[in-house]
Structure formats: C-alpha cells, structure tokens
C-alpha cells in the first residue's frame, strides 16, 4: 500500500508536467484549429528563462546582502518567467502563424516545427553544449507518513500545477476574454461580429498556453535540475499525445489525460521491465484512441462552415 501511494505521488508529479504542457496545445487548437508544434520547445525555452530568472534573483539577493526565503524566490521566478515566456508565445503567433491563418493547416504545422528547431539550436548557439543546472531555490525535505516517503518539492509541484489549472479554469469560465475564447472555439468566423478582434484573442491564447508551459518547465527544473536544449522534444510529444487523448480542444480533457499519462508511465514499470515502459504505455494509449478516436471529451464536430 505504501509503495502504491508512493507511486501515486510520482504519477501526479509527472502528470503535472504533462498536463501543464498539454493545456497549451489544447487551447490553441480549440480556437485556431491548429496544432502548435512549437509548444514543446516553448516549454524548453520557458525552463531556461526560469533558470535565468532564478539565477539572476539569487545573484541580486546576494549582492544586496538580503536573505530572501526560497518560496518567495520561487514565486517570483515562476511569475516572471511566465510573463517573459508568454511574450515568446505572442511572437510565435505573430511571426509564425498569423500570416498562415488562411493557409492549409499542414503549412502551419511545418512552420511550427521549424520555429521549434530554431529555438533548440539558438539555445545551443547561445549557451553552448554545457549542461546548465537549475538553481536550488528550495531545499528538499523528506517526510514520512505511514511508510510513504515524499518530498516537499513533489507536493509543491503538484500543488502549483493544480492551482494554475484552477486559475485557468476560472479565467476561461468567468472573464470576458475567456468567454470570447470559448465562443471562438465554437465558431471563430462569427466572433468579429461581436466586436471581438481575433488578433487580440489569438495572441492571448498563445500567451496563456506558453506561460503554463513555462511554469511546467520551472517545476520540471525543480525536480530534474539538469536542462538541455532538446528536453522539449520528448516531453512535448508526450504532452501532445495527452492533448489528443483528452480530446482535441478540451481543456479539462487535456488536464485529466496529462495525469492519466503520468499514471500509466509510472505504473507500467511495476509490472513490466522499465525499458518496456514507453512501449507499453503508448501502446495502451494507442488502444484507447482506437476505440475513442476523439479522445475523452473531444467531439466529432464537423469543421465549421466557411462564410
């Protein structure tokens, strides 16, 4: 039982990474019918931006000779990195996708992949091949409850991820921008007739998705401090799978599927050899998608009518 609970916590941690990234894929898809294949690399860039912000904040507090508590540094790092990374998302929308809004979707997908490669290799060009370590903002404490070991970091990672998802949910349900996004996901051509500019809502969606990916990147860096320029590829694709599994364009689905992915990945090695992990895990997902091709919450809606 203790062993099981231990793994539940691990699964929730990995699920948090996947869910935070998957949300960005789903949001962009739901309003623009577009898979943003740059998103995995935005996650990577967000992690590096977080690393830069954290390092700068630590240095600054060192120079000023004040001791800033770790949790405060973490909050500042997350907020600042989310803001900076959202600007990257806006830039990607403006430069990469907006000119292709009426182009075939395949062109947009290829452009997205190319921008991703550019991000990976500009990282390599600027920072070189050395691996950078995410600075320790919070010291690890290990707790034992009823034979279950867990660290403060894991709790913090899952807690922050859930908090961000709750904030996103409230934003989408309660704010007028969220309402415009929901409307756009239903019928984007009519949205301008409501006095809403697509050129506000589209970049806003990219900004929010990118900032969530950045938060995911920082939380990932807390758990696995060694960053590399290609870290966004595997995590990005897996989160993309989560977005599809949740149902294209479904926010709730993306979050739940992210966690489900975490569970499948953590629990598969309990039965099979660990080298079989992803093979088995993704075969299971393939099987689910065979029976539910639209994922958990996706609808087989026809593409919207063209005016």
């Amino acid at each position: 039982m203790a062993f099981f609970l231990q793994n539940v916590i691990n699964a929730l941690q990995w699920g948090s990474f996947y869910a935070l990234i998957a949300l960005g894929y789903s949001m962009v898809y739901s309003i623009l019918m577009l898979f943003n294949f740059t998103h995995g690399d935005i996650f990577m860039t967000g992690a590096y931006i977080g690393l830069g912000v954290a390092t700068a904040l630590l240095a600054l507090s060192g120079v000023m000779g004040v001791v800033v508590p770790g949790w405060l540094l973490l909050i500042f790092t997350i907020v600042l990195a989310m803001m900076l990374t959202s600007l990257l998302g806006v830039l990607v929308e403006r430069v990469g996708y907006r000119p292709l809004r009426d182009a075939p979707r395949a062109s947009a997908a290829i452009t997205g992949l190319m921008i991703g490669i550019i991000l990976e290799y500009s990282n390599l060009a600027i920072l070189g091949t050395r691996r950078l370590n995410f600075p320790t903002l919070i010291e690890t404490t290990t707790y034992t409850v009823g034979g279950v070991f867990f660290t403060n970091k894991k709790i913090l990672i899952v807690g922050i991820a859930l908090l961000l998802m709750l904030a996103l949910h409230l934003f989408i349900q309660k704010s007028r921008w969220g309402m415009a996004m929901r409307a756009m996901s239903f019928d984007y051509q009519i949205v301008p007739l409501m006095g809403v500019s697509l050129n506000v809502i589209a970049p806003l969606t990219f900004a929010i998705g990118s900032s969530l990916a950045a938060a995911g990147g920082i939380l990932y860096g807390m758990a696995y401090p060694v960053l590399d320029p290609f870290m966004g590829i595997v995590l990005g694709w897996k989160s993309f799978v989560a977005a599809i599994l949740g149902g294209r364009g479904s926010i709730l689905g993306a979050a739940l599927a992210g966690f489900l992915l975490g569970f499948i990945e953590i629990f598969t090695p309990m039965i099979f050899p660990s080298t079989f992990r992803d093979l088995i895990a993704y075969s299971i997902i393939l099987l689910i998608l065979t029976f539910r091709p639209y994922g958990f919450f996706g609808q087989a809606h026809s593409t919207q009518l063209r005016l």
Partner: protein, 237 residues
Amino acid sequence: MQLRVENLHVSYDRIKALYGLDFVIDKGEIVCIIGANGAGKSTTLRAISRMIPAEKGARMLFEGNDLLDYSADKVVRKLGISHVPEGRRLFGNLTVMENLQLATYARKDHTAIKQDMDLVFSIFPRLKERRTQLSATLSGGEQQMVAVGRAYMTGRKMMLLDEPSMGLAPLMMLGMFDALKEINRAGTTILLVEQNARLALKFAQRGYVIENGRIVLEGKSGDLLHDPEVRKAYLGG
C-alpha cells in the same frame, strides 16, 4: 443619409458575386433587399460588415466614415453596425446570457448596456426565462431571438439581418417582425435581406430587387408589391 454604397463589386476566389451595387439608406429606415437564392443578398451584407473584402473602386460611407478603413470587429465596435448572420450562428456552447454578454465585449457604457439588456428582455421575455440555458438547446425561434438580441447588444445604429424568417413557423415569423419593428422604433436602422419577398416588403418601407449580383429594381415597398415583374418573379403571380 446614413449609409451610402457605391460601385460595390465582390468576388469569392474567381467567382464574381456582386457587379457594382449602388444604394443608400437613411437613418431610421427599414429597407429590404429581395432576390432569389444566390443573387448576392448575403454577400452584400457581408461586404458592409467587412466579413469579406470589397474589390477596389468600391465606396461605402457610413455616417461619414469610410467602411473600407475598418475591420469587421471595428465596424461593430466603433460604428455600431450589427449583423445577424445567415443561419443565426449562435455560440451553442455558451448560455443565452453569455451570448448576450459576449456581444458587449467591447462596450464600456455600463448603464447603457443594462438598459439595452432590459430592452432585449422586454421584447423577448422568453429569453429571460431561458437565460441560463445553453443556446444550442433552444428552439429555432428562440435561437433567432438570441441572434437578434445579441446583435442589438453589439451596436444599435444599424442592424443587418440575413433571412430572419428562415426556418421559423409562420406565427413565430410574425412575432419576430413585430420585435424588429420595436427595435427600429428604439432608433435602429434596419437593412434586411429575405427570400420571403412578400413578408419583407410588407415590413420594410423601401426595397431593392437584386438579380445575379445587380440591382434591377428599387422603390417603395407598396410599389414593388404591385409591380407586375416582382409579382411574377417573387410573389407567385
């Protein structure tokens, strides 16, 4: 005059839809455009609300503003022209109330918004009962009420209506046109396009007849109703 359209040509890809339309609409008028399916009625409305581009050489002046300088969302926001699109096109995943609220997205005049909302609910009391319901679950008639109410909430100077009678039962249809009269009395100019020519001409003060992308006839509604050509082509003899 409130709206002057001159030399309006529109093409979809390579297919030409409008061949140089000219018409004017005065403030407070109810004007209809009638014509057969595919004559270019909807295209005319879409060109005015800037959903589709007009070809070079067109001039569209609304209260002294050149519509060609405005994008679709700005036509609504800055000029107060609303558009009820063909087929209603409600946001089915939003409630009735959310559909109406989204229409006020760009507005800051909070007291006026409340007054407008009250007016919409007084014209369509049914919507007040249904306000928490998802708009996709409404009947066709109720959906048309939301579509008109929503348009009224976006802008109140001029309302463009695309086939408001489509798919409605006869009684519902008459109720809808009564509601539009009320909206017009509240100060909104109305330009509607209809396949149901008899209904449209009884409702409007003036009419334009459009055929294959050209205006072929125009006049007072009463005159058009008695015009032998119109009777033969659109009123069933």
